[in-house]
Symmetry: C2
Subunit: 343 residues, 2 copies
């Protein structure tokens, strides 16, 4: 690959990110129909500056496909048990092809019924949840998503993890511009932040995580080895994680977070986690002047000194990376490249 590089970093255009991702996923035996949605999401994450869910996660995807923790050739199966419900079984394969398989049926049902849901089961890490709801909103629909993950948040007062970092994502279409997207975990920070600090050998701030005894820790290793993530806002974050758990794991028939194998290591077979999406056609309800009312709300936020709307940083990153590309650590590049060679 013709890339600019130094001893520390490798510069890649987004087209090169795409080509690299495609090449290594295919080399690890991922079906081309499954590879395309994963590659698109990795490119989108890098374009928006969400490095933790971009190329940094690709070695894990490759490793899981190669060893068969995830079935890279699994094809999702779709059914619609009721007019407003779409269900996709990811069949212990990747999440992205399963979600992409269900989105058109979800959007169609939402437009016909006014509201519809997509339940994805037997699934896997779906990357940036905002990426998926944004695509629903690009169809003119209000979107809400709940996603579960291996247990890492303890209930309020307890020390043993029960809920994943269980993010909620939301997107609302805007006239003449990109949808507003909000994507936040139920924990103070996403687990990937802890992993990044561990990789860099840096301490984490107090208040992000607890050790295995339920005590606050600044050691990322103590947080990841049997510890837990602190829920955002204390018991309210744990409450939100419970709500997400019921929608994403229980309702979809997926693994509860306590039963899901790790997204990070090679043990335990497929995590079989779940994603639940709700899409609503706002046309009939929001009524006349809907767009100006929405922009009035957003202006009340963006018009204040010091405040900003969610998604502004991602939009700036998109503009920057479209022409400027990205730079990743040489070590990460080499790790990814190694997956292009036979195991």
């Amino acid at each position: 690959m013709n890339t600019q590089s130094s001893t520390d970093g490798v510069h890649l255009t987004l087209a090169q990110v795409e080509a690299l991702t495609r090449r290594v996923l295919l080399a690890c035996g991922v079906d081309p129909r499954n590879e395309a949605p994963i590659t698109a999401s990795v490119v989108a994450a890098e374009a928006e500056g969400v490095h933790s869910h971009g190329l940094a996660r690709l070695p894990t995807y490759c490793e899981h496909a190669r060893i068969g923790k995830i079935d890279g050739k699994a094809r999702p199966v779709l059914d619609s048990p009721k007019p407003g419900l779409v269900r996709v079984d990811a069949k212990a394969g990747f999440a992205h092809p399963a979600i992409d398989f269900g989105l058109p049926a979800l959007c169609e049902a939402a437009k016909a019924q006014g509201i519809a849901a997509l339940a994805v089961t037997n699934s896997y890490n779906c990357g940036v949840v905002g990426y998926h709801v944004e695509r629903i909103a690009q169809n003119g629909l209000l979107a809400l998503a709940f996603v579960n993950a291996p247990a890492s948040i303890a209930p309020a007062g307890g020390a043993k993890p029960v809920f994943g970092t269980n993010p909620v994502a939301f997107a609302v279409p805007r006239v003449g511009r990109e949808p507003l997207v909000l994507d936040q975990s139920s924990s103070v920070v996403a687990k990937s932040e802890i992993v990044v600090h561990q990789q860099r050998g840096e301490a984490i701030p107090l208040g992000w995580a607890l050790d295995r005894d339920g005590d606050p820790t600044t050691d990322p290793k103590a947080a990841l080895a049997g510890g837990s993530m602190v829920p955002s806002g204390g018991y309210k974050g744990a409450g939100l994680a419970l709500i997400v758990e019921v929608f994403a794991a229980w309702l979809t028939g997926a693994s509860l977070s306590i039963d899901a194998s790790s997204f990070a290591d090679n043990l335990g077979g497929s995590p079989r986690t779940g994603q639940f999406f709700i899409a609503i056609d706002p046309g009939e309800l929001a009524g006349e002047g809907a767009s100006s009312r929405l922009e009035r709300l957003f202006d009340a936020v963006a018009g204040q000194p010091g405040a900003r709307l969610p998604g502004e940083r991602r939009a700036a990153a998109r503009a920057r990376t479209a022409t400027g590309g990205i730079t990743i650590p040489r070590k990460l590049f080499d790790t990814i490249e190694a997956y292009a060679r036979p195991a």
Copy 2:
């Protein structure tokens, strides 16, 4: 009324709470068809020990009906613009009759379509949001609710309130026992907690509220007079408040929180706020063993030392008040009784 009383408190059975509430609402000109749902919610709040949303709020309801800030005779109007959508216009009347009017149609649509939504617009304070979702779950449906309120939470980084305390409520049916109900505001505490401290002349803990300059305060008056409520978990609580705002206010066509008049004072006409409910039939999705999987999740919480499931305190209060009744301050009792007499 034959009540046990002392100089400080008045003891009431729940039957007496019901009779008192009914009598004063009717005396203030509330239509009997509207009075019944309000009275039922006040009794339920007192039964569950949520005093801030029980008799303590009744004088405001009465005052607003008497002066016409709320139209006590308004009858809600229902339509169903799409198979999965039910809309109720509260017509600037009370929230409870509007919600009660829509719930049967919501539940019917959810069972037929798999998922349905109820949008309530031109509405008012709906009391304990958990009360409403619990009734949806008693129909065997998973329920989620978003409710907006006059602006009192500033966006992250800002000082001027844009969002209401905007609660989220959730309920899931359980086999052989009452639904699990979770009901939490987007702020660190509900605004009623600040009001209670002001009424008692007590300081509030740091971290609950900001003054009008955006600085932390322990003075409930500074919090309520131009100040703001601190969002739970910082920017994530403000993010959640934004999501709730879009569903409850924008999507329903109700007043944005920045435009809504106060729930507490007599100014500005009807607040015309909104409530948005989503109901889902879990039967088709959660599949075989759904009940045991749900209880396994709940056991993982309740089985930990120090942890408890949401709703345990309310269940205990219900058992206690069913036979033991409640005691309210003499001053509150006298204030309520005064509304039984002509203005």
